[in-house]
Amino acid sequence: MSNSINIVQAVQQALQNEMTLDPTVVAYGEDVGAVGGVFRATVGLQKEFGENRVFDTPLSESAIVGTAVGMAINGFKPVVEMQFMGFIYPAVNQMVSHVARFRNRTRGERHLPMVIRAPYGGGIRALEHHSESTEAMFAHIPGLKVVIPSTPYDAKGLLIAAIRDPDPVLFLEPKRIYRAFRQEVPEEAYALPIGKAKILKEGSDVTVVTWGAMVPDVQKAVAGIDDISVEIIDLRTISPMDRETIVESVEKTGRILIVHEAAKSFGAGAEIIAVVNEKAFLSLEAPPMRLTGFDTTFPLPRGEEHYIPSPARIEHKIRELAAY
């Protein structure tokens, strides 16, 4: 059976499915219980599974993540929510110092099946700190996996995979497109592989790698291009990165553009360029390019339209790359 749902519903359904199948899965965070989260990603779950499995916490992100470490050690699979990615920073110490390290610290004796969910990204005309995209900071931490879906189907399958993963996963949800479109998605649980990118469109002239909320923008841009054959790769997992899919594509096209919303410098785009250089240098017919957010704080709403690369800018950049 399938149902037509959007991304935020897919997140909810993934949780609902896994909580039904596995009694050790619990979900908690700020406002996730009674109201089902500020984006309604956990709506209905407390009613269905009770306050012991879906609950609100005090306003303390470090405690939310840190207690999840303890919960995971003691037999649960916690899926915790950071209300916005901009509020994940109080929990960074827990993530870097413990979440990422327990398996190695104990030489495999203890491991942490836990998921940290956070809506990320801008473009929703929000206050400061509600528009962050700092996936690169977390991707740099050995021991953390970082996943970003871009469709309801992927969101559900990847979140289920993250919950089933014996190791911790940072699951970033593209809030700008939470409700942008619906997709037919199986009602039952299914898992998609973490660490695998997806070729959304095959092409032979230019490879575009992107993820999350930028995917529809890239698709829109490419839809307006008849004269260049563009291959679109949805990275889906930032770390560990699917180098193979990227490299194979560049071996074919010789040209690569990375589009992301995060600030440019030291962003995930840089890693992709480094990988392409290391693995497909001789195939490169043009310099790998990046089209990204600026090296600035995400502007408040009256300036935000400038920050996220628009389809027009993406098209422009693809043309620049193809013409090189």
Partner: protein, 362 residues
């Protein structure tokens, strides 16, 4: 009032004026001229007007997310009025009444909520920090500002605001502990409005009240009726004077968020009318109104006469920024460092070239 003689363990709450506007605790009644009282009343009304104008503009799509202050004006205006001009104030994001007292221009306040950084370019001399969104993180700044004052031998006090939810953050704890160790001139002011978005106070912490958290830091704590502007002013004045000479004080103002958390929130999901209704009788504006009417310095007529000019003032302020607040491209880049880095310059140039090209394409 001797602030360090109050026992926050007893869970009593300081009141000066009851719900009908009667002074029930005259010995704590703050010294105020009639003019000052009217100024307080006027400021509360102005706050309420800004609130309702902003909410209605928001519904019309002319304003972005907005956090209502309805019901908390007593705590905000009362505490703000206890400060000297040279004292510092470090807000969270729901302190409209205090901002007005401190002098943040109305059009700037609206410009902030309208989505422009220029709203926070408010005048350095106000000694008021901009809104701080990450809960309680600004408590650290307040401790640092106060330490700086103290190290220079100045007597300025720094007041910082957070909510009941804010008391759960690590930064709340670290800032209070730091301030107490260095005996900095700080007043830490909790607006306990009973909710952190949907999470009720009872699920936020297991302590009987929030004022008693002061004990953990070896500082005085005091619990006050936040809807009683006289009590808030009396307590905050005492706290400010104590802090000026001795070190930090924690205040919990007991109040209620009558509206939604912000315009993105739907409070019917987590509370009922019967939760809210009892608080209507405690309304801080009505209470002061009653008092002033009984005192004969305010009439029904005065009350009504205020409405229109206030609405006009606020709407005029809004109109002065409505169409002039779009961010210029350069502004996004210009304020990250004293000098723009070459990276930023490149990115700005590339984007402007694109914009130019796109224009000429048309």
């Amino acid at each position: 009032m001797q602030i360090d003689k109050f026992n926050p363990l007893e869970d009593e709450m300081i009141q000066v004026m009851d719900e009908k506007g009667e002074i029930i605790n005259p010995e704590l009644m703050p010294e105020l001229t009639e003019e000052e009282m009217l100024h307080l009343y006027h400021t509360m009304r102005k706050a309420r007007t800004i609130d309702s104008v902003a909410l209605s503009l928001q519904r019309q799509g002319r304003m972005l997310t907005y956090a209502s202050n309805l019901g908390q004006e007593g705590a905000q205006v009362g505490s703000g009025y206890a400060l000297k001009e040279t004292d510092w104030a470090v807000p969270a994001f729901r302190e409209l009444g205090m901002w007005l007292i401190k002098g943040w221009p109305v059009e700037k306040i609206l410009q902030y909520w309208y989505g422009s950084e220029w709203g926070s370019h408010m005048g350095k001399e106000l000694r008021l920090l901009p809104i701080s969104v990450p809960i309680s993180s600004h408590f650290q700044h307040a401790a640092g500002i106060a330490l700086a004052s103290k190290l220079r031998g100045e007597k300025d006090v720094t007041i910082a605001y957070t909510g009941d939810g804010g008391t759960s953050q690590g930064d709340f704890h670290e800032a209070l502990n730091f301030a107490a160790v260095f005996k900095t001139p700080n007043v830490f002011f909790i607006q306990n409005n009973q909710f952190a978005i949907s999470v009720p106070r009872s699920k936020q912490t297991a302590s009987k009240n929030l004022a008693m958290k002061a004990i953990a830091y070896g500082m005085p704590g005091i619990h006050v009726d936040g809807n009683d502007i006289f009590a808030v002013l009396a307590v905050t004045r005492a706290a400010v004077e104590y802090a000026r000479e001795n070190g930090p004080v924690l205040i919990e103002a007991h109040t209620y968020r009558m509206g939604a958390h912000t315009t993105s929130d739907d409070p019917t999901k987590y509370r009922t009318d019967s939760d809210v209704n009892p608080w209507k009788a405690k309304d801080p504006v009505l209470r002061l109104e009653n008092y002033l009417m009984k005192k004969g310095v305010l009439t029904e007529e005065d009350i009504h006469a205020l409405t229109e000019p206030l609405e006009k003032e606020v709407m005029d302020a809004y109109k002065s920024i409505e169409f002039s607040s779009d961010t210029k491209v350069e502004e996004i880049f210009a304020y990250h460092y004293e000098e723009m880095t070459p990276q930023l310059q490149d990115q700005l140039d590339e984007y402007q070239a694109f914009l130019k090209g796109a224009e000429s394409d048309v």
